[in-house]
């Protein structure tokens, strides 16, 4: 209704200006005023221009400006990067003061898309935006955590409480077999950036490009989606802020196992004491975070932001944690009457970590609960360390594992991102960007001479072993990564006619990547004291040392372009194309083409429905790619066999083929169709969007088995088949109560997943790929997952458990409806991927109080509880060695040896109260030293509702690195933890 009026009046207005300007009938008016930010502080550097003219100025350090306009029909446009611009008609006013706010209404919100920005209303593909206010709060140590559960279709998971463990990020499930399944990261325009170079505190907003319509402009790296991070920018009058928090984190769920008394009663070996090994290796961990940020600007077109972030995190396992300092500096400089704009962002991070050893949790579950913490009994004091050790398979004292051995690392990252943009003519801009990232990683492990466990180091090709067997064993690892990005981008934005706005982008992108590193391992030290000095390791003299090194690199080159049309803010069309080549493709397929087209129409503007503010229907189709996961996969390669050959009485090196050639190797091609509806109803009280997508990934990359002969080796990287993926995503937000002193907003996001391995190539037809095995000890050949042609991804595979017979032996389905004791018949016994996921946020404001709580759930996935699969048996030969996992499924009548079956597959559905925050904003008078203070208390992982008996029902996206093997709860998972955080945000 009022839209028509508005548009009508604007039409008249612009017409009038045109007339006036053309006729030079100028009756000039002087306007002045002050711009403030949303905290009522002066806002310098805001650009103020007279609409449709080149006449403009910027606000000074006090936020003040003055400008002369031709007449009272003029319109002033106030704009600042990262803020939506405001237009104000001059009319009879001579003073115009206003406040610019980054928190904006949904429709005018700025959405960062590939190589540009759009207003929310213009977006024609599936793009989600999460602003700083919506980020998860509390004990946040990773950027991914900010988003967990916030975006429909974006799954972020980290089972267990390892402070040095990474998060798995999946957008719309899985759309790849062998390529990178994590989304592409873009930070402030830098493609392929590293999330770990940014501190979560420095982030302004995160945009997620979900469909191929929006991601196709990123070509060969767009298939798993794109996450675009925008960091906080300077601009206001010298602002200083401090954010600090203290967190206490406690283990709340261990793998259930027998107590000392139960263990003894069940026939376990009694060593005389009562020990809870999980308690012995865990603690109440304390962490603190401090962030100081400065920002400001000068009237001369300079704005800056600088921040220092310090994080100190303890792990709940003893002797684990990290210490991290990150600094970020961002500078913007305008020149040549604002036609030239330079930006520079530099960040540096140093993180030193105590990783500990994940195996300690496995040992804590199975180690004899009657063993004392320390011993002097020579029968138990096996290595003389004073810890009880016994010679069972994969069995060691968990306390000794963490207390005796060191596994520490230092990770350093620096990132430089610089750009220069020149406005050649009005609306036409040319940008040059250069960025580089440097990452170094040093990890040192030392197992002292009395350290018993043989499986703490697992370097491929080395002898490995324990500190005890190797008389002290040291390993040093160094890795270095270096990438450079260079881009030229030409962009054009023009209102072609009264109703039609055109914007276009074209560019060239070059990126190279270089990695190198080495591992050294040696033992036989006279004393543990000199463990950092390899010269004191006798292994070098005895030919028992191990060394390896690597260096590799790759290049990406691309040309891209996009055209956007906006017809009268009613209809929108966007089309893009990227042509991209990579050194990692086979010689016959170096270049790929990635097109996309999308369109949207605001039905709310076409039909006048009283309760509709906007109702946009949009559809997109696009093609994205995925790169082979490593360089050189298309080449025929030779490498040393590892063994030397006795030739004329001396040993000489032997070389053999290590990889089959595939000159046809190409990108995975994902074609995606997305149809969506964005709506804003009842005075924007109810907002949301609904998406349906259908993806087809063809030319799936996989390291497939090939016949020998004719192939020299039995694996080859090939494009092997088609994956189909459909889903529905719904985001709903509702202002339940909206009044001055009290408000309640509730929002829900919901997403469904269905991923199928639709087809395999002719040579693999009817077959399966990606099988994984349960693992060591003793189950290295026990297949538990596979991906089968025509079936959903995530299949758990094995015999179907049907009970036990009178001897306590397992009975399995034999495939004909009867039972047998062998378990030779194997079939689908579950699926590791969820069918739907849910996030539910509630935000309350009452006067100065705010309360936010957030539930998150995944439903329909199954989990192989490997703790049970390995350690549930109380059969006499087993309980003599291992403590028993005794969940509700524990059945002492079972007398069979370990046999994997559906008995160990559990429903993983859960809902968690993931995060709850209560905050209070203190009032301060204007002009005081302190401009703002907020204090909050936060709880994370407050409760979980699930049937799963393991420590954490989170979706497991891979097992041993195999992404086709989701749904396996590995035994190195840390315990589940709960944390409470007390924090303040202070502004000066």
């Amino acid at each position: 209704m009022h839209h028509y009026l508005l548009r009508g009046s604007r039409y008249v207005l612009i017409l009038a200006i045109g007339l006036l300007v053309n006729n030079k009938l100028s009756a000039q008016i002087s306007i002045k005023g002050t711009v403030t930010d949303n905290n009522n502080q002066p806002f310098p550097g805001v650009s103020v221009i007279v609409k449709e003219t080149a006449n403009g100025t910027t606000t000074d350090a006090t936020g003040a400006y003055s400008i002369t306009v031709p007449n009272k029909n003029a319109v002033l446009v106030f704009s600042f990067v990262g803020y939506p611009s405001q237009e104000i008609a001059v009319g009879a006013k001579t003073e115009i003061s206003l406040s610019l706010s980054p928190s904006v209404g949904q429709l005018n919100e700025v959405v960062v898309v590939g190589y540009g920005t759009q207003k929310r209303k213009e977006v024609t593909s599936a793009v989600a935006t999460v602003n700083a206010e919506q980020f998860n709060k509390g004990n946040i140590s990773d950027v991914a955590q900010l988003l967990q559960g916030k975006v429909a279709g974006l799954s972020i998971s980290k089972p267990g409480g390892n402070p040095n463990g990474g998060f798995t990020i999946r957008l719309r499930g899985l759309s790849t077999l062998g390529a990178n399944a994590s989304p592409l990261i873009v930070v402030d325009g830098q493609v392929g950036a590293d999330l770990n170079t940014i501190d979560p505190n420095d982030i302004q907003s995160i945009d997620v490009l979900k469909d191929a319509g929006s991601a196709a402009i990123y070509g060969t790296r767009g298939s798993s989606g794109v996450i675009i991070v925008t960091t906080k920018k300077g601009g206001r009058v010298s602002a200083v802020s401090y954010n600090g928090s203290v967190t206490t984190e406690n283990p709340i769920k261990f793998t259930e196992h027998m107590t000392a008394a139960e263990y003894k009663a069940a026939g376990g070996r009694d060593l005389g004491a009562v020990t809870d090994w999980n308690k012995a290796i865990t603690r109440n961990a304390l962490s603190h975070i401090h962030n100081i940020a400065f920002s400001g600007g000068s009237g001369g077109g300079t704005t800056y932001t600088a921040s220092v972030n310090y994080r100190n995190g303890q792990g709940v396992a003893i002797k684990t944690g990290f210490d991290q300092v990150n600094a970020h500096f961002g500078l913007t400089q305008r020149a040549m009457k604002d036609k030239l704009n330079f930006t520079l962002d530099v960040s540096t991070t140093r993180r030193s970590s105590q990783f500990g050893f994940d195996r300690a949790f496995q040992y804590a579950t199975i180690f004899n609960p009657t063993a004392p913490l320390h011993t002097t009994d020579p029968a138990l004091n096996y290595t003389g360390s004073g810890y009880v050790e016994q010679n069972f398979v994969e069995y060691a004292n968990p306390l000794a594992v963490l207390e005796q051995n060191t596994n520490n690392g230092v990770n350093k990252r620096t990132n430089i991102n610089a750009s220069a943009t020149y406005e050649i003519i009005r609306g036409l801009k040319f940008q040059v960007r250069y960025a580089q990232q440097n990452t170094t990683n040093n990890i040192g492990i030392y197992l002292p001479k009395t350290s018993f466990d043989t499986r703490l180091i697992g370097t491929n090709g080395a002898i490995n072993g324990s500190g005890y067997t190797r008389k002290g064993l040291a390993q040093k690892q160094n890795d270095e990564g270096y990438t450079q990005l260079y881009e030229n981008i030409l962009s054009y934005d023009k209102k072609v006619t009264e109703k039609l706005n055109v914007s276009a982008v074209a560019g060239y992108s070059y990126q190279d990547f270089a990695y190198n590193g080495s591992v050294l391992q040696a033992g036989d030290f006279l004393t543990d004291v000199t463990s950092e000095n390899f010269a004191s390791a006798s292994d070098f003299k005895n030919n028992r040392s191990f060394a390896s090194s690597y260096k590799n690199g790759s290049k990406l080159v691309a040309f891209f372009g996009r055209l956007n049309l906006n017809y009268n803010d009613v209809a929108f069309i966007s089309a893009s194309l990227r042509r991209e080549g990579s050194t990692q493709f086979g010689a016959n397929n170096k270049w790929g083409m990635f097109p996309a087209v999308s369109a949207g129409v605001d039905l709310g503007k076409l039909a006048d429905i009283s309760f509709v503010n906007s109702l946009k229907l949009r559809g997109s189709y696009g093609v994205t790619g995925a790169l082979p996961p490593n360089p050189y996969l298309s080449l025929f390669l030779y490498g040393p066999t590892g063994n030397n050959f006795l030739y004329n009485g001396v040993y000489i090196p032997a070389y053999e083929p290590t990889q089959n050639a595939n000159p046809d190797l190409k990108w995975e091609r994902k074609a995606e169709f997305d149809i969506g509806l964005d709506f804003s109803l009842f005075n924007s009280r109810l907002t949301g969007s609904l998406d349906y997508y259908n993806r087809q990934t063809s030319d799936l990359l996989f390291n497939a088995n090939v016949p020998v002969p004719p192939n020299p080796t039995n694996r080859k990287w090939m494009n092997i088949g088609i994956l189909e993926n459909t889903g529905v995503e719904l985001l709903l937000g509702y202002d339940v109560v909206k009044s001055k002193s009290f408000s309640w907003n509730t929002s829900i996001n919901f997403s469904t997943f269905s991923i199928k391995l639709a087809k395999l190539n002719a040579e693999l037809a009817g077959s399966y790929v990606g099988a994984s095995n349960l693992g060591s000890p003793g189950q290295e050949q026990t297949e538990i997952t596979r991906a089968v042609e025509g079936e959903k991804i995530g299949l758990l595979w094995g015999p179907v458990y049907r009970g036990i017979n009178e001897y306590g032996h397992f009975l399995f389905d034999d495939g004909t409806g009867k039972t047998d004791t062998i378990g030779g018949y194997k079939t689908k016994i579950g699926n590791g991927l969820p069918t739907f996921e849910l996030g539910w946020t509630n935000t309350f404001h009452y006067k100065n109080f705010d309360l936010n709580f957030f539930f998150r759930g995944s439903f329909g996935h199954d989990i192989v509880n490997t703790y049970r699969a390995f350690f549930e048996s109380s059969q006499s030969t087993v309980i003599a060695s291992y403590n028993v996992v005794n969940t509700k499924y524990f059945n002492p009548a079972i007398q069979s040896g370990q046999t994997f079956s559906s008995l160990y597959v559990e429903k993983g559905s859960f809902i968690k109260l993931d995060n709850a925050t209560l905050g209070y904003d203190f009032n301060f008078k204007n002009g005081g030293a302190i401009k703002g203070l907020r204090a909050f208390v936060n709880g994370q992982n407050l409760f979980v509702i699930t049937d799963y008996t393991g420590v954490d029902p989170e979706v497991r996206y891979s097992y041993g690195g195999n992404i086709l093997a989701p749904g396996v709860d590995a035994r190195d998972t840390w315990v589940r933890t709960r944390s409470f955080t007390l924090g303040v945000n202070l502004k000066f």
């Binding site: 069972f392 170096k590 025929f636 050959f645 053999e656 039995n714 048996s873 006499s876 030969t877």
Partner: protein, 535 residues
């Protein structure tokens, strides 16, 4: 180079220079060799030839090796499930029960190992054949012989395998019949024989490599099994091949049986072809890991922890100590009861093939104990290796089973032995000739055969010569001599006992299990391959 290309492309990227869109990956190859830049120099060619051999090192003497399918299904070895250990999805048990599946690791790895060897040979041949110098021709014959030996194991284990001789041919090949494969091996070996060197075990140049006598030994074994492989017996040919070796004068039985297996056994007069293992340079003989108890680590001051798996069984051990089966001097030996109580029995010198009885720490005096010993094991915590194995699965005692002590275990070993491993040994040739003679004469008391067997009994075993012999007593003697040298499966098949009932193995329903299934992964990947009958 990278920097300059980057600078160049940055500066002129706008102009779209072709050099900035060049995506040749071999320019970025720093730590690996590709077919474009490798195989050029003599040393590189020899390194490729070397790989055709070293492929064997890692694939013959280890836990997951060819030895696994040669030994575990027979009556001389068992890998029992010891509580939580050695279950491995049941594939060890399936080997024992002859219920192996096409996707079991045993057949799968063995196929890959052997065809990798065949392919290595084909690749080396494709490089050598165009050269045409005398030195290259000599290599060609040697590599063709090596390829024929890989096929000798393939025809034995899988039977109907594809014959692949052309490295450039990339079509997935179909099966050949077992007879065709047999004919191919015979033809190839006979063709190259004249070009191979007639060197003995002390010749440095060919030690560890295939020479004339290696080819003759393979022919002898091929002919010995010709009836199984091709349907037609070839006793005369077998005898002729053996005679060629015996009459060369290059080989002789060692006075001490165990000299063939000690750490420094290089150049033993019985070695026709060996893998020259070395704990640093040439690893893969991981017998200490496979057979020793975890606690034995202390006894030998090992650099790694053993896995307590492979062992022999009571009946096989008994064939050494039972005076009826093996007449000879009597003395105290470890007995067959669950405690391994010493009894009177034959003291065959070849009992050094086993580690049995109480175990001691490295000081040679203190008893070795296992704090984690099975409570039901009557030996108690002091470690006794007993020939008695209580059950195949799931609860075999940690200390049960006579351990494989044939190759000398030495203090400070890593778990990878330095002892060379004979693939073809002179004693085997003597027994091959004896068997061929007896079978040709259709008389196990054929004097020539009896003399050969008794030569081995007296020199190696120090036991009483047989006065008469039967098929059973011959097989018993072959077993004692050739224990754990990967001949037992072949021998049991030839003597018809492979499919009979023996310890932990009920009788097979039929003989399809005498060759292994073709691996499922190969059938998946190669539609031209057909599975062996019965699987």
């Amino acid at each position: 180079m990278k920097i300059s290309s980057f600078v160049k492309c940055s500066l002129v990227g706008i102009v779209l220079m072709s050099s900035c869109t060049k995506l040749d990956e071999t320019e970025l190859l720093y730590d690996r060799a590709s077919n474009l830049n490798f195989g050029v120099t003599d040393a590189e060619v020899v390194s490729l030839l070397a790989a055709a051999y070293t492929n064997l090192y890692g694939s013959f003497g280890g836990d997951g090796s060819i030895m696994r399918v040669e030994e575990v299904p027979t009556d001389e070895i068992v890998v029992p499930t010891r509580g939580p250990d050695w279950g491995d999805g049941g594939h060890w048990v399936r080997l024992k029960l002859h219920t192996y599946l096409p996707n079991d690791a045993g057949p799968e790895n063995t196929w890959n190992f052997l065809f990798k060897g065949v392919n290595s040979c084909n690749r080396v041949l494709s490089i050598l054949e165009p050269i045409g110098t005398p030195a290259s021709l000599k290599f060609i014959s040697e590599i063709k012989a090596l390829r024929a030996i890989y096929y000798y194991w393939l025809v034995d284990l899988f039977g109907n395998v594809p014959i692949s001789t052309d490295f450039a041919k990339t079509d997935p090949p179909p099966n050949n019949t077992r007879k065709e494969v047999y004919d191919f091996i015979e033809k190839e070996l006979l063709e190259v024989l004249p070009d191979l060197q007639k060197t003995g075990p002390n010749d440095n140049e060919t030690y560890g490599r295939v020479n004339y006598y290696t080819a003759q030994a393979v022919l002898a074994k091929l002919y010995l099994n010709a009836e199984i492989f091709s349907g037609t017996a070839q006793w005369d040919k077998a005898i002729a091949a053996c005679d060629d070796i015996i009459n060369s004068g290059k080989f002789a039985l060692t006075a001490n049986y165990s000299d063939n297996f000690k750490k420094d056994n290089k150049g033993s007069t019985e070695f026709i072809w060996v893998i020259p293992y070395d704990e640093v340079q040439a690893t893969g003989f991981s017998l200490p890991h496979m057979t020793l108890h975890m606690e034995s680590q202390e006894t030998y001051k090992m650099g790694g922890q053993p896995w307590n798996g492979w062992a022999s069984v009571q009946e096989f051990y008994n064939s050494y100590i039972d005076p009826a089966q093996n007449p000879g001097p009597q003395g105290t030996v470890v007995g067959l009861d669950p405690k391994g109580t010493p009894i009177q029995g034959t003291t065959d010198k070849r009992l050094s093939n086993f580690l049995v009885g109480p175990q001691l720490k490295s000081d040679g005096a203190t008893p070795l104990t296992d704090g984690a010993a099975d409570v039901t094991d009557p030996d108690g915590p002091q470690i006794h290796f007993t020939p008695y194995v209580n059950e195949l699965q799931p609860g075999a005692w940690r200390q049960s089973g006579a351990r494989i002590g044939k190759w000398e275990f030495y203090k400070g070993m890593t778990g990878q032995l330095s002892n060379d491993l004979a693939l073809f040994r002179y004693a085997d040739i003597l027994l091959t000739k004896a068997e061929a003679q007896a079978r040709k004469a259709n008389n196990w008391n054929d004097p020539a055969a009896l003399a050969l067997v008794n030569q081995i009994r007296t020199v190696h075993g120090g036991v009483t010569p047989y006065s008469t012999m039967t098929a059973t007593s011959f097989l018993g003697e072959r077993g004692r001599e050739m224990f754990f040298e990967s001949t037992r499966r072949q021998d049991q098949i030839r003597f018809g006992t492979y499919n009979a009932a023996f310890r932990f193995h009920p009788a097979d329903a039929d003989t399809h299990v005498n060759i292994f299934p073709i691996p499922a992964s190969q059938l998946n990947a190669n539609k031209n391959l057909k599975q062996n009958p019965g699987y």
